[in-house]
Every structure is written in C-alpha cells, then in structure tokens.
Symmetry: C2
Subunit: 119 residues, 2 copies
C-alpha cells in the first residue's frame, strides 16, 4: 500500500499504445498509456473500460459517432461496444478495466500487447 | 455512454464527506467527494478502495502510520485495512470502489451516508 504519483509513472515510459499497470483493486487494473495516431477497431465481450484523459485529447470513434474526451474528462465504453481510440497529438490516458481484459479484444493486430507490464 | 467532465461534476455539490456517483463499470462505481476535516475510523471487509486526489491534499491515517496523498497522486486501501481520511483544507477526491460498499464499513456515525446519489 503506497502512494502512486501519476505524472512520475508517466515519466517511466515513452512507447505508444502499450498500457502499463500501476495498481489493482477488486479484480480491476489501473493502467497508464501514452497514445498517438490511430488504434485498431475492437471490442471487449465481457469488460467495461474506463478512459480518463490526463493530458491532451482522445477521440473515441464508435460505429455510429465519435466522442472527444479532453483533459479532466472520462468516458466508460460498455462491454460489447466497438471502439477505435484516436489521438491527433500525443495523449496520456488512465484506463480502468478488469485484469482479465485482452488489449484488442478478439482482434490480433501488430499493436496488440499480450500482457501489460507493471511499472 | 457519454463524456463526463470531472470539474463540472464537482461544481454540482458543496457538501463534505458525501460521495456522489458519476459512473459505473464492472460492478465498481466512480465517485467524487469533497472532504474537509476528519472522517471516522473504518474498514471495508470485502472491498478495496481507490483514492485519487483531484485537488488539494488528503492524509490517510492507518493504525501504524499515515500517508499524504497530493493532487495527481492515488492510493489503494486494501479490504480489511482500517483507515481514517483527514484533510486540513478542502480536498477533492475521486473514489473507485464496488457498488456494494458501505460508506463507513460496519461503523455507524453521523457522517455515514446510506446510499450515495448519482450526479
């Protein structure tokens, strides 16, 4: 049980689209990611996913619309909803999702990370 | 599924120690609270609890020590660990915890809120 400084954790990595685990509670993991460019369309059959924007702006594309999520804003993507995260400029996000989640759902892609690392 | 602005949600209430629910995912709820002064000693038998400080500084007292959690920092208090949140000045926090959690655990206190409200 220790205090986690979010900015300090972000200083420990530079890769895009590779979430790092910083904490765990009740079977959920808290992850940080730096993202830039377009991710891949995917959904998670059984897991809701929270996106909280720490810095910059994230666009979440859905099949019928898109939502812009800015610094200090968040959105929960419910299980089963296809989404594609996009960031024009580098954006820092916090994710909260079950430990069991697959990075790109059932989709295999060059961006897919099999097992997120702890930092 | 909509974008939630955290600062805007904080502008909707002024009471201290009365967490407001802003979102839910995988059986967990995301809550916002304004706190000032001393809360009551309690623990949660079955629930881990995440405290993320949005503004100000929160001191979490444990039976054997205390931790200061500042803006941009977080801590997870594991199930069963007694804690007492304290804030010298008003502090804004985000909580993530199971929907089933009791505000002050098994402790009944004048600060106890039976059912948190959504905002």
């Amino acid at each position: 049980m220790k205090v986690i400084d979010i900015e300090e954790k972000f200083s420990l990595f530079t890769q895009h689209w590779t979430p790092k685990i910083i904490s765990e509670l009740n079977g959920q993991q808290v992850k940080l990611a730096k993202v830039k460019g377009e991710f891949v369309w995917h959904d998670h059959t059984n897991e809701d996913e929270l996106f909280l924007v720490i810095k910059g702006e994230l666009r979440l594309e859905f099949r019928d619309r898109s939502e812009s999520v800015k610094q200090g804003q968040m959105i929960v993507v419910p299980k089963g909803v296809e989404h594609k995260p996009v960031a024009e400029e580098e954006c820092w996000i916090m994710l909260i999702e079950p430990a069991s989640i697959a990075h790109t759902g059932d989709v295999q892609h060059e961006l897919t990370v099999e097992n997120s690392a702890w930092i």
